[in-house]
């Protein structure tokens, strides 16, 4: 299990932090968003429910748009567009 962050297309990135609990997912997400350009989309995969609430608040504060959220069997897959 390791954190993976990769560019999957033009302006598209994926960050997988499954298996990590607080504070790893929110801190890696913050770092990932800093690497991305305005308008880029991050597909974020995580499985620590508590981190989700903090990531939502972080995105709201920074103006980034969490425009898609799906959850299944304890895995969360979110799409975030950087402001």
């Amino acid at each position: 299990m390791a954190v993976s962050f990769e560019q999957t297309g033009a302006g598209e990135w994926t960050l997988d932090v499954k298996g990590y609990s607080c504070p790893h997912p929110q801190m890696y997400t913050k770092k990932a968003m800093q690497k991305m350009g305005s308008g880029d989309v991050l597909t974020l995969v995580f499985d620590n429910p508590s981190s989700g609430e903090s990531i939502l608040a972080m995105c709201e504060s920074d103006g980034n748009d969490v425009f898609q959220r799906s959850e299944d069997a304890g895995n969360f897959i979110w799409k975030i567009r950087k402001a």
């Binding site: 299990m1 609990s21 504070p23 929110q26 690497k35 609430e53 972080m58 504060s61 103006g63 069997a73």
Partner: protein, 475 residues
Amino acid sequence: MQSASWFELNRHRLYSAMIVVAVTLGSLWALSIDNRFLYLLVYVWFGLIYGLFLQYGRFCMAAAVRDLFAVKVPRMAVGMMIAVALYAIVAGLVTLTGHSTFHPNVLGWHILIGAFIFGFGIVFTGGCASGSLYKAGEGNLNSALVIFAISFSQAMVVAGGSWFDGLTPAGWAESALAKDMPAELSVTRGWFDLFTAGYVWNLKGTTLAEIMGVTESPVTAVLINTFLNAVLPVLVLLVGLYVYYFRKGYVRRLGKSSLTLGDELAGIWNMCTSSKNTALAGVGLGIFAGLHMYVTGALRAHYEIFNFGELLTAMGYTNGLSIQDTVFDPGYWYITTQEAQWGGWVMERLGIDMMDNIFFGLDNGLPNPLLNAPGFMSIGIILGAAILALLRREFKWKMPTWETAFFAIAGGILMGIGARLAMGCNIGAFFATVTNGDPSGWIFLLGMVLGGLAGVKVFTKWMDWKLSREDSFGL
């Protein structure tokens, strides 16, 4: 085929219902043995309620401090403040009924130092003591390791040998000896006994109303303890959180260059309600934490007891009681001491004498975990969180890796040491104290904030170092 797919679709609901049925049947079984187990069951069911709310609101007080510094998110700090205000108001009403179970903590340097160590540890464990319990209920085995580490590190701290006795101030041994304690406690041996009898017992614990000399009118005293010691500081902290962590984003979203007072107040409200789950959990936890005190206080009056140990004796269970025939029985939400008892109980079974100290031998006893009432509150939190996590399809077994296991154990050990030095964790030494008029909890919060800040700095450095070594990683 049909039934298999039904099972697949409803498995989470089925498991969730099975937990509720198991706790209900277990409760009825206990009552059938002796209806006085009702006293213990109050802890079980309040624990269950706490677990439900904690999971619902992702309510972890570690995040209140850590996320503020790590990702500048005030969500949990706000949730914690809401819970403090509600708990304080309900606790005030409970005090007026005469059923409060609260006792103030003593005030001293140990709180600041212990809370600092505790606050440093929670950054690495990913959760506070209650947070680790509810996350364990979500299937997180790292959190289960944290609980394990907290339990045993506390037990070792309070019962540890005399290796560090030489490091204690000379006056402690003299002062401890003067307390004239029974010889079997050997209070002049073991640094935690010296610390307790030679230092802590010389300090005073009190409420703000007593400090201000207002004790004649119970109503005025409660008003001071509730509003001056809890609600007012909460309001000040909320304004601070708004100004430093929320206002900038709010102004941008509002699209105005200058804000009226109405806008600012709306902004504070916006901050408090931006995470509805967290805010609602704060309200629920605050109210139920207050009610918990009332129910236990009323039961103590009903059974005419001060401590569960008396009830256990009356029911014929005398193993594991302290030499005062007491057991740990706070009468309100508390986490760490019962976990220390779990660790201590196991060590006692392994043949180590764990009762020759003040913590277990004189005060808290070492009851069998099946008779440990607050212990069941901790288990209730795990089960309550599991019930809701399963229903929300968020339950997932999360196995530790070497990295996460190391953080869980090292952080858990620090949390255990910190909690014992500070005489409690963020629940027992902060949440339950500031809401009942005891200002020592604010000192705990200060220590926890400073420790959290230091923890975030170290954690960030470690993360950067780790990333710099992983070439394939683009972060």
